[in-house]
Symmetry: C2
Subunit: 503 residues, 2 copies
């Protein structure tokens, strides 16, 4: 028997998803193919769609349906979880007015354009006024959404439902305590040559290699595609259309490799979420932290492993016989696992990466406590880079302007990157325990058993569980940073010949 | 003083346009980059957007505003014209229900997919059931929209406001009377060699040549772009984002040339419509006939002229020195102006082209009079091709399935192609009279004076006038087929050495 209230609810959510995904198509186009003069009109079109999907979400009829369904004991477990999660999202939506949603969307478009100009000119002052306006809106948003302890909690909750400032503070204290010393140990060792990565790798062949790597991971090109964009990203307009973008640097092969594998990991997640649940929580990703766990698992635990390059270095050699002449898989492996403090987050190695996040977390927290002003950001930023990474920031475009996120109004987003890496380490350990001979399979280029395990244990659940529930379900415990440290110690001790007693 | 009712009206229309243009982005993506598995979800997303924009259009608040503004004598001429035209469109929209709009959108998606399969398999029976369903909806639509004389009038009016079946019948009777004999005269002459067109022209260089031709026409690549698609088309998401697509046949240079110039002509029109009138009638194209007048003027009156190739054949020679070796501009000019009955409308020369339209017009009229059934279409089609073009249709994919239009539910669309060519001849004659030395300018590759004239006399008016008003404003009379015949006689008599007394 079909439940007609449930069907109406599903139909309403389908329509909302149709509009959100239409926005996603417009965003994808904006980042890949849109001609420059169209920026203002596109911003306006996106604002209208955002307003419309919000209007549909706050429809009192939807609220009535949800209340009715919440009391309906005939629903099965999946249906109940969908309804519960939709109720949470519905109540959150009610706190926004359509005019606020449209104002925010416009402010984001303006701020994004200002950031683009500022970054190009390396002049923070071109961005500051728009960022200030956006931050004001974001602070208003915190009050509208409400929070228990800290206004920043309201922002975190948007990307990582349930995450709290206090918990992250605890986590990053641990990161500082354990990772800083370990990185110092590594820094005391002689550095590895990166030469093999930095030769001239022609664009077209890099493109073909990237496509091959994606196919090997199990990415379905019949339900997706790859394009070029300034900043690589993954987007989806349903589970049947999940797109990735990459960028190619002819003087650094690593750029393309990491963006393909990383975005590929995101995309496999979206392609694995059941299309039958389109529009419902069960048809959507769980949280950004979990999303990032999928990209990081493929990028770090798989893509930066020796086993993976045992399988794939011969492929690189086939594409680039000249460039790789005289280098072996170990050179390649070490070149891509060089730990070294650097200025740009997206180019960071998998260990110092978390210092970049730590800095952003501290800044965002201070902004939402109104302890620092937007105008002070560059100074504050540069001081932290000096302190944590020992680096002088030469200019704003390699400093505070390097990332797109704040221009999008995404505060509370960065921490999910670290959460993702830490979840990834913990999930990958569980996968290793569950799949006999996983390393050997990877060494043979057979990545599908791993994908199958991820599909079964993570992807197919959409957002039917919380991140904590899912993590416990898979690994038997909540997120635990020790798994990441264990992975890091084991791997880098081998790479850098660290003595067991020192790690 | 700003008129607040007028501003509210403008704002409402802006929002509707935002959604329609979002649909256009999704459609563009569907034709260019969308992965195949996503077809069903995309169809659904487009249906939702169609329903939404319809809901906004039939908003009684909009009706109230329009009635108020219609009585407002303080509006200037442009504002009054906008309001009058919006009222017409509003009243038309009221005749549709949202559920009908969404049902139609879904039927179109299904029928399009069925047509694609049917065409591939050259099997009309795969398409027939979907087409039948769509035709039923279209016949319902005629009753909903209303008409005075003929149900087909209601369809024509969608694409060519004011066009009537009876007028077209008169026009096509004239076409038959004058063009058939002239084409027979030509057919009696020795044919020209097409060899220079049919050599091997590599894709990449063709692409570059096409871009150069578009730039020369004045197409603004900062407010548009070109991509590849199966069927070339132009689409726009505002006057600041007007895109064209092309297709390239390495064995036939003409394919790319005509699609670039033709779509370029459409695109120049859209780029010339004032962006300040976005969403209002004054910010939209007048009719499909007038749209086509712009593409045909560039394609036929400019692009197929001797003057144009005087300027551009050297460019072709520069791109393709090997392929064009031993050929001169006259060979090139004659090769692209060969008149010869053929099966495929889009490959037809500019004279026999109109027989293709004539056949479609007769079929559509008969369908809407319920004089023929969908199942009888192939037979009816083939008989007409035998009669008017003297050709045997070898299979359905080169016959009744060749065009996409019916699969989109576009009945009444084809006649606008002929209207466009006839308007083009009449407009171009006016341009020649208005611009001293136009032919010489074209011969020197200077196309901008013509573009400026089109901008001034056609583009900037958007839909503030009817086609008939515009035509009279520019040429001093309503559409008159004699201008096309005059153009055709003059041109082809020279090309085919016809004696003056015979033409």
């Amino acid at each position: 028997m079909t439940n007609s209230a449930y069907e109406s609810y599903r139909e309403k959510l389908r329509r909302i998803a149709d509009i959100s995904y239409a926005s996603a198509v417009l965003n994808w186009d904006q980042e890949t193919y849109m001609p420059p003069k169209s920026a203002a009109r596109r911003g306006q079109q996106l604002a209208t769609l955002a307003g419309l999907s919000h209007e549909l979400y706050v429809d009192p009829q939807l609220g009535k349906l949800l209340r009715e369904l919440k009391a309906d004991t005939s629903l099965d477990d999946t249906q109940q979880r969908n309804v519960r999660e939709s109720m949470r999202a519905y109540e959150k939506s009610l706190r926004y007015t359509t005019s606020f949603v449209e104002e925010m969307s416009r402010a984001v478009s303006e701020s994004f354009l200002a950031w683009e100009k500022a970054k190009k000119a390396s002049d923070f002052s071109l961005f500051a006024p728009k960022l200030e306006k956006l931050l004001d809106l974001k602070l208003q948003e915190c009050e509208m959404l409400g929070y228990e302890d800290h206004p920043y909690d309201a922002q975190l909750d948007i990307y990582e439902p349930g995450a709290r400032t206090a918990d992250l503070e605890k986590l990053f204290t641990e990161v500082r305590a354990k990772l800083v010393d370990f990185v110092k140990l590594i820094a005391a060792q002689p550095p590895h040559s990166q030469e093999v990565m930095l030769r001239h790798y022609p664009k077209d062949k890099q493109w073909d290699l990237g496509i091959e790597l994606l196919k090997q991971m199990g990415y379905d090109f019949e339900a997706g595609r790859q394009d070029i964009s300034t900043h690589p990203f993954t987007t989806n307009f349903s589970a049947t259309d999940v797109r990735v973008t990459t960028r190619i640097d002819e003087r650094n092969l690593a750029e393309m490799i990491w963006s393909c594998i990383h975005e590929g990991g995101h995309a496999l997640y979206e392609q694995g979420i059941p299309d039958s649940e389109y529009g419902l929580p069960g048809g959507e990703y769980l949280s950004l932290g979990i999303h990032e766990s999928q990209s990081r698992l493929w990028e770090n635990n798989v893509g930066r492993s020796h086993a993976y390059w045992k399988a794939n270095f011969p492929l690189v050699q086939r594409y680039f016989p000249e460039q790789t002449k005289g280098f072996g898989v170990d050179d390649f492996y070490k070149a891509m696992n060089t730990v070294q403090p650097s200025l740009i987050r997206t180019n960071a190695d998998e260990l110092t990466y978390h210092f970049h996040i730590l800095i952003r977390f501290e800044i965002e927290k201070a902004l939402f406590e109104r302890k620092i002003k937007v105008a002070e950001l560059p100074e504050y930023w540069n001081a932290r880079y000096k302190e944590y990474l020992g680096l002088e920031v030469p200019d704003a475009s390699r400093g505070v302007l390097q990332d797109i996120h704040w221009s999008h109004g995404s505060f509370g987003y960065f921490p999910t990157y670290s959460l993702g890496s830490f979840y990834a380490a913990q999930f990958f350990e569980a996968a290793q325990n569950a799949i006999p001979g996983l390393e050997l399979k990877i060494m043979n280029g057979n990545l599908l058993p791993l994908l199958e395990w991820l599909r079964e244990n993570i992807h197919r659940h959409g957002r039917l569980y919380t991140a904590e529930e899912l993590c416990k379900k898979i690994t038997g415990e909540a997120l635990n940073f020790d798994h990441f440290m264990k992975y890091a110690r084991k791997k880098y001790s081998l790479i850098y010949n660290l003595k067991p007693e020192t790690v």
